[in-house]
Amino acid sequence: MSDSAAPLPSNPHSTRPARQPSPLVRWVNDWGEAVIEGVVTVGDMAIFTWNMLRWMFTRLPSRGTVLINFYQVGALSLPVVALTGTFIGMVLAVQSYAQFHTIGLENRLGAVINGTLVRELGPVLAATMLAGRVGSAMAAVLGTMRVTEQIEALTAMGADPIHYLVVPRFLACILLIPALTIMADFMGIVGGYFYSVIILGIDHAAYLNHSREFVTGFDLFSGIFKSIFFGATIAIVSCYRGFHCEPGAEGVGKAATTAFVRSFVLILAIDLLLTIVLNSVYYTLYPDATSIL
């Protein structure tokens, strides 16, 4: 198919100066592009999630692949979650004592600290640590795999990258985040108790009685229930960012940062939504529930 020696094409760029659009047109254009990009991303992420769920219910990945992810997500996150949980419990004790002491209600610190921990701070803290430690790493690893053609290599060898890479990470996140939440709750309770009773000298029996009275099983359930949604969010956002990583080292860094920021924002938004829903459920189930104060 040898062509004759055709002349090279002339420069296709026109020399006529392009008309500059007005600032309003540019503003509308920029916003339009951002909206379209947002809609495309949401749709793309929905398809990505659907493919992942489809694999999860048709064929689970091998035990070896799942266990490695369980170890990285669960076992390696435990120390940092326990440590931050302890400090948060103690910080809550310091802050709450300053407020409650002035109105003579320091004996009720147990209810405030433990209630806050079990309902909100425990799950959000565990999720934040998971997003920072595991979510960013997931995005960076998958992003590097994308950039170095490892994801394409999986497809070329007849393996499905979503089945092989995303499903184990998703399972690890949703199944182990409740355990991490319980650890954050427990260590926060221990830290709060230690600072309140041992350092601030609050009565041991009063602290425990108020905790028992105002912190219910439903509070524990709602925290763990919310954490499952947080885990799912971290896995989906991080894996999606990794799979859609831009080329180069900068792209990988951006994917890791974006994964954390987006996961964190979504965790807080989902937290608000679920808290409203769960509070409605709680007051429907227990209309005579008393308040802490």
Binding site: L8, T148, Q150, E152
Partner: protein, 283 residues
């Protein structure tokens, strides 16, 4: 070739000129607004070794990935043994992809796995293969590409570029594919290691009745391993009516090709490209 390690004395004799194994019809690939490949028609027959040459950015790698179904064409069709890849359902496509072995430009070995696990990976994707059989085949294929047993416990990061390419080749061959696609197999390697890789490509062809597609801009590789050469040109620098395939012939015809762009590429001469680059910089 499925499992039968048949030896071919003269590779050229093995070319089946009857029905194409791989065929592209009016293939067009566009990324956003950028046209990469337009209206490509080509047939690759069983037993052929085709080198696809052309300067960077002309769409060689995109063509290869489209031919094995990694990239969906914007329009046009790819046929494997007469079956349209775009009409295949996912399980059928997965099975079709196992008929290909792809040697990636930078080997694309999995960082988290050892060399053994990397080479064994395609086998483990297929059920009912015992670990004993996996071990036997991994060691045999590593031996075929000249790698010792003690390399199997190493991670890809601990290997040199040439070793990584050879592990990539062993991994591509472990399922005894019908078509082996090499993406820039000698890029980034020293001349000696480049020749080792070229010899391995030839050796693979002698050992197995394989069809090979070698994407390269290394003329030594194209001349040494190929019995047919296709030269592509970047779509953005062609007139709409021009064909993107500037040359389709044997390696011996390259030097005397009618199109001066082919001759310039073969000789490594910048020619008009220097003026074009200067004009682009000025504009």
């Amino acid at each position: 070739m499925n499992a039968s390690a048949e030896t071919i004395e003269d590779p050229v004799d093995a070319v089946d000129t009857e029905s194409p194994l791989l065929e592209a019809r009016e293939l067009t690939v566009r990324f956003d607004k950028q046209l990469i490949l337009s209206n490509i028609n080509l047939s690759i027959h069983r037993g052929q070794t085709v080198a696809v040459i052309g300067e960077s950015g002309c769409g060689k790698s995109v063509l290869m990935k489209t031919l094995i179904g990694l990239i969906q064409p914007t329009s046009g069709q790819v046929f494997l043994d007469g079956k349209d890849l775009s009409q295949m359902k996912q399980p059928e496509l997965v099975i079709a992809r196992r008929r290909f072995g792809f040697v990636f430009q930078n080997a694309a070995l999995f960082d988290s796995m050892t060399v053994f696990d990397n080479v064994a990976f395609p086998l483990r994707q297929i059920e009912n293969v015992s670990e004993a059989e996996i071990s036997e085949r991994v060691f045999r294929h590593l031996n075929e590409v000249g790698l010792p047993r003690n390399v199997t416990t190493k991670r890809p990061a601990e290997l040199s570029g040439g070793m990584r390419k050879r592990v990539g080749l062993a991994r591509a061959l472990i399922l005894t594919p019908e078509v082996v696609v090499y993406d820039e197999p000698t890029t980034g390697l020293d001349p000696i290691m480049s020749d080792v890789i070229n010899e391995l490509i030839l050796e693979t062809r002698r050992r197995y009745p394989v069809t090979s597609v070698v994407v390269t801009h290394d003329m030594r590789t194209a001349r040494k391993v190929a019995d047919r050469v296709l030269m592509f040109f970047p779509r953005s620098r062609l007139q709409p009516e021009d064909s993107q395939v500037l040359f389709d012939g044997s390696p011996s015809e390259l030097e005397n090709a009618e199109d001066r762009r082919v001759r310039q590429f073969v000789r490594g001469e910048a020619g008009e490209r220097l003026n074009e680059l200067a004009q682009t910089a000025d504009s």
